[in-house]
């Protein structure tokens, strides 16, 4: 009996391993989940792109659900997702704040003129410190922040219509109703 059990063991181990490998085929090894989900959005104070004498802090948007979109004029995938934000802004579903990450302000302004400006306002993160605090490791990234200033979602990479419809918008609506 004991012998038979030991003989089956390698087969069981092999099947288990295969199961893990199969599951792994559908996982994205590069994606880094954020430890900030469910935690307060890190505070900061940075100048506004179109009004440099003014600065913005996330506190200002307490009581509202809002999106924070990290972008830069040198970022190619940011162009891909930008039309989505343009339509989102037009539909006035949720305010979107842009975080201009490690960019040249002039280039940034030109980029918005050329591609459209869906942002409530854009904040300049010249040295990337704000991005660092938010765990940004590649642009673009988008955060959903709720009324109490807690991060509820982090999307890495360009936003897609599918992700917007299936995940982001339902979450936003849920949070907006939550009160």
């Amino acid at each position: 009996m004991n012998r038979k059990l030991l003989l089956i063991l390698p087969l069981v181990a092999f099947v288990a391993l295969t199961g893990f490998f199969l599951r792994g085929l559908w996982l994205n090894p590069r994606e880094v989940p954020s430890p900030l989900i469910g935690k307060a959005a890190p505070g900061f104070e940075r100048p506004v792109l179109h009004a440099l004498e003014r600065s913005f802090t996330p506190q200002e948007l307490r009581g509202q659900v809002w999106l924070l979109n990290v972008w830069a004029s040198w970022c190619a995938p940011c162009r891909e997702e930008h039309p989505l934000f343009n339509s989102l802004a037009k539909a006035k579903v949720v305010p979107i704040v842009g975080l201009n990450y490690k960019d040249n302000p002039d280039a940034a302004r030109k980029w918005l003129v050329a591609l459209g400006d869906p942002f409530l306002l854009t904040v300049i993160d010249a040295d990337g410190r704000v991005g660092l605090d938010y765990g940004v490791y590649g642009v673009p990234e988008t955060f959903v922040i709720d009324k109490s200033g807690v991060i509820r979602l982090k999307h890495i990479g360009p936003l897609t219509q599918e992700k917007l419809d299936k995940t982001v918008l339902p979450l936003v609506r849920q949070l907006q109703q939550g009160g």
Binding site: V32, P35, L36, D127, G128
Partner: protein, 151 residues
């Protein structure tokens, strides 16, 4: 034998001395910076540490480490800073948590198991080496005869 014991003791004494505290100096801070950076994973070039990587993010994070070291933060505090923002994924040395107990103790548990199996094998083999009494008597008889015949 005694000489060997002395050698071993000298060995251990030197090892203890090596762990004596070294005062913080620019060289020491740089050493610590490299040591910490070598154990943090670059999230852009994910198969490099931030010590090796030339990515912008890696440079920013190295700068962050440098500043924190100058501000007197400990190695653990700096690592916590990183994991608060990027999660455990950024640590090349997996932290010891409930989920990684199997990882850290697994190899030594396997070693224990291997040692047990090896011991069992040796024990079963060893018992066959010892001659039974009947065999011993027979051997004595044969050897005795051999001495008469051959001598």
């Amino acid at each position: 034998m005694r000489a060997l014991l002395v050698l071993c003791l000298v060995f251990l004494a030197c090892a203890a001395a090596a762990y004596a505290q070294v005062p913080a100096s620019p060289a020491e801070l740089e050493r610590r910076e490299t040591a910490i950076a070598a154990e943090l994973r670059c999230l852009v070039c994910q198969n490099q540490s931030i010590a090796e990587s030339n990515a912008d993010l890696a440079r920013d994070l190295r700068q962050q480490i440098r500043e924190q070291l100058k501000a007197g933060k400990s190695d653990a505090e700096i690592r916590d800073f990183m994991t608060a923002r990027y999660g455990d994924f950024v640590l090349y040395r997996p932290p010891l948590k409930a989920g990684t107990v199997l990882l850290w103790f697994g190899p030594f548990a396997l070693l224990g198991l291997g040692a047990l199996i090896a011991a069992r094998i040796v024990r079963t083999r060893r018992s066959s080496v010892a001659l039974s009494d009947a065999d011993r008597a027979r051997a004595a008889e044969l050897l005795g005869r051999g001495r008469e015949d051959g001598a």
